[in-house]
């Protein structure tokens, strides 16, 4: 089967946007919507640069007329996968941010003038930046664009806090499996975290301090939390993660915020993420406890519209429970 990889680019890195490749007819969308996920931030796979790629926000209503906000966050990584050098990555991130900070005083009115800026910068030339990469970097400091850095090790988290303070970054740390070792520093820096509460087994040497009580400790320290799952089609399992977090000491209301308003506020998603007058009506009616994976939504309202909860799975189920008098081939 021929498929494209729409989450990566061999030409662009920092300014690589996945927004225009989004497929609202993806079968994953009804599946996650029927499990209570009404919107999502879609991120590109990391590029070769330690900072690279822009994620966008999408409403999961399966309409071809897509409701979205393009390029709401930049993505990056630091630490332990593959053969990359941590010391090289740190130096590169520092150099790229320093270049980005210098853009404020530059003429960026045309692609030709941006090409001149690239030619004048050794790091931009070495990284083979294109104008769209430079425009994305400009937004880091001039639009306060959030930047998500994936990192786990406690010492790396401390380095990222230093970078946030040096450059006044709108930084979010994703992963953060050793956050419990540096709780006070993270709380002081006010960096929001995206964590997987189920991950209590180290998947790498960067995650040796993983523990199941981490979300509870982070919440008590006043850190803004959001949840993710291991890369999978089942993004709705963030509510299972939230349930595990509550079972291990996090407050129930705090877990609901981690799934809703904390994401909206962190990524500046206007009028979404909470039930209050004037907000867009993205509302789920649950048959029972939403943090229990076997509990399903009865109604999922997106942009005020009662959405269809049929999925490929329910159609397949129904095919085998209807028209039982007919042979399989003749059932629809």
């Amino acid at each position: 089967m021929s498929v494209t990889r729409d989450d990566e680019s061999s030409i662009y890195n920092i300014g690589f946007s996945i927004h225009d490749a989004f497929n609202p007819n993806s079968v994953l969308i009804p599946w996650n919507r029927a499990n209570g996920i009404t919107s999502a931030i879609t991120l590109p796979r990391n590029t070769s640069s330690p900072i690279g790629g822009l994620g966008s926000f999408f409403i999961l209503d399966s309409k071809l007329d897509i409701s979205s906000e393009a390029d709401v966050a930049m993505i990056g990584r630091l630490g332990g996968s593959g053969s990359s050098s941590r010391s090289e990555s740190l130096a590169l991130i520092d150099d790229i941010l320093s270049f980005a900070l210098s853009l404020d005083k530059k003429n960026m009115s045309t692609d030709a003038s941006i090409d001149e800026i690239i030619d004048d910068s050794s790091i931009a030339s070495y990284m083979d930046f294109k104008p769209r990469d430079v425009k994305a970097l400009y937004r880091l400091f001039n639009d306060d664009l959030p930047i998500i850095i994936k990192s786990h090790r406690a010492s790396d988290i401390l380095k990222l806090i230093e970078l946030k303070n040096t450059y006044d970054l709108n930084l979010i740390i994703m992963g953060a499996q050793e956050a419990s070792l540096v709780v006070d520093k993270i709380a002081e820096s006010k960096i929001p975290l995206i964590v997987n509460p189920i991950n209590n087994i180290p998947n790498s040497f960067d995650e040796l301090a993983s523990n199941i009580n981490m979300t509870s400790m982070l919440e008590k320290a006043g850190i803004t939390l959001m949840f993710n799952v291991s890369r999978s089609h089942n993004y709705h399992l963030i509510r299972q993660g939230a349930g595990v977090a509550v079972a291990n000491g996090m407050s129930y209301g705090g877990a609901i915020k981690a799934l809703t308003s904390n994401v909206a506020e962190t990524f500046n998603l206007k009028n979404r993420g909470s039930i209050k007058v004037g907000n867009i009506a993205d509302i789920v009616v649950w048959e029972d406890d939403p943090l229990e994976p076997s509990s399903m939504p009865e109604k999922v309202i997106i942009n005020g519209i009662d959405t269809d909860l049929t999925t490929r799975s329910t159609r397949l189920r129904d095919r085998y429970i209807r028209d039982l008098e007919k042979p399989n081939t003749y059932r629809n």
């Binding site: 879609t42 039930i275 509302i283 649950w286 005020g304």
Partner: protein, 92 residues
Amino acid sequence: MIKNKLLLAYIILAFNAAFIESANMVIKNAEIYDGIENNSYQGHILIREGVIAKISKTSVPYADKVYDAKGKIITPGFIAPDTQIGIVKLEL
């Protein structure tokens, strides 16, 4: 002639009013976790033109459609902050 025009205007207004009303819905008797407060509360939510128009803890607001959520929990739609939804066909 004027009488007929007035009648036509009345019919158009009535049609528009019915159309607007049909876009309204109230979810009543729900246990609401609003994503703001830590605790839930009992209430009724009026949705009008895609927006949360009213939240009442006492009387049920009027709407064309009423959904009784007694015994159910209501939350904001969940937002997944780290996905590849819509851009990856197969997880490789």
